[in-house]
Symmetry: C2
């Protein structure tokens, strides 16, 4: 049975799940969600795909999951990969996935949306500046943590890496400058040099180019 | 061995861990962190307590954990409580803990801080209004989910409840009006009627009253 992932290229949260699926070796296929056309707000999407209107949604037979961190956890159970090698690493992975949801991807995703997918005259400048200041603290923390490390947890790629990198490969500007954070830069290269890695718009259907 | 929780009354994230400890029946004691006096930014705190400067930190013998969701997960493993009764519920609990980190507590905590713990002339009005608008969507989603349910996941109190309620009992105003969300209001009463429940400033040391 091929796993289905409801997703669209612009979603870094969907990318976290798609990249974990792709690198796990499990059989999967993307199902394009027309987010910018309003599909996640339609009654059909709410009743048939996800009552909370979220993306990504993973369907594997009878199992239907949302939240990228939950989908990653399921992929780890099913594939034996990316979950950490013991209880301590598993908790460390969860710690960084939660930190990412709280401090990094939530802020990066929102700021990228405000700066790139809203008309210039609707962009809340004070909110963008505030978010960027908080993001700087998050980048600095991650960059320090990666000093002397190849991966965020333990000595191999885990869901901690696959979560925190979710928005950091996108080409649209949101204030993140890889060259200012050499440990993050080297770590992103390490992930993208992993066999099978693909950039967001190569891994999932839909991109800003479709809408121009 | 008594579990130690480094915390302070104003922290809703610390409250999530403290409330889980208190209701689990495990032996624990709070250790006050002087956040407003700058303790989490001192070299001693960074080297001896938590290199990321976070609160809460739980210490149980050799185990030292941060992130309230990780601490709750550990308490569930140790006590057998609040983690969900099978794999499906466990994933649903994780889903709501992640949602809370992404959409509810992160926004509520920040907004409450900006509105109550910064001087009036330093409060970023546009950021506060933006956050409150996003929080309204989160309250509405949670209120809808709780329609016809007693608890967020399954038929008993879980970490999903103990995470999402983290900032909702505090007396300081941040734009949350319980009476506008009757299902949330009833659910908060259900949690606070649980034997052993305490309000944040009764469960942890330190409160705004100490600083006036």
């Amino acid at each position: 049975m091929t796993i289905k992932l409801y997703c669209f290229g612009e979603s870094g949260n969907a990318y976290k799940a798609a990249l974990a699926l792709e690198l796990s070796g499990l059989a999967w296929e993307p199902v394009k969600v027309d987010f910018f056309g309003g599909q996640t707000r339609t009654p059909d999407y709410r009743t048939q795909i996800n009552n909370l209107g979220e993306v990504p949604v993973m369907v594997d037979g009878d199992v239907r999951l949302t939240q990228s961190g939950v989908i990653q956890d399921y992929i780890s159970e099913k594939s034996g990969k990316f979950g950490g090698k013991d209880a301590q690493e598993r908790r460390e992975v969860l710690r960084w996935v939660l930190w990412d949801n709280h401090k990094l991807s939530s802020m990066a995703g929102m700021t990228r949306f405000l700066m790139n997918f809203l008309p210039a005259d609707k962009q809340p400048k004070e909110v963008i500046a505030f978010n960027q200041s908080r993001l700087t603290a998050a980048y600095e923390l991650l960059n320090s943590h990666l000093e002397g490390r190849k991966w965020i947890v333990g000595d191999t790629l885990t869901n901690a890496d696959l979560s925190c990198c979710g928005y950091l490969y996108y080409p649209e500007p949101f204030g993140f400058d890889r060259s200012a954070y050499p440990n993050i830069d080297a770590w992103l290269n390490r992930i993208s040099n992993t066999a099978g890695w693909k950039a967001p718009y190569d891994l999932m259907p839909g991109s800003p180019a479709d809408r121009t």
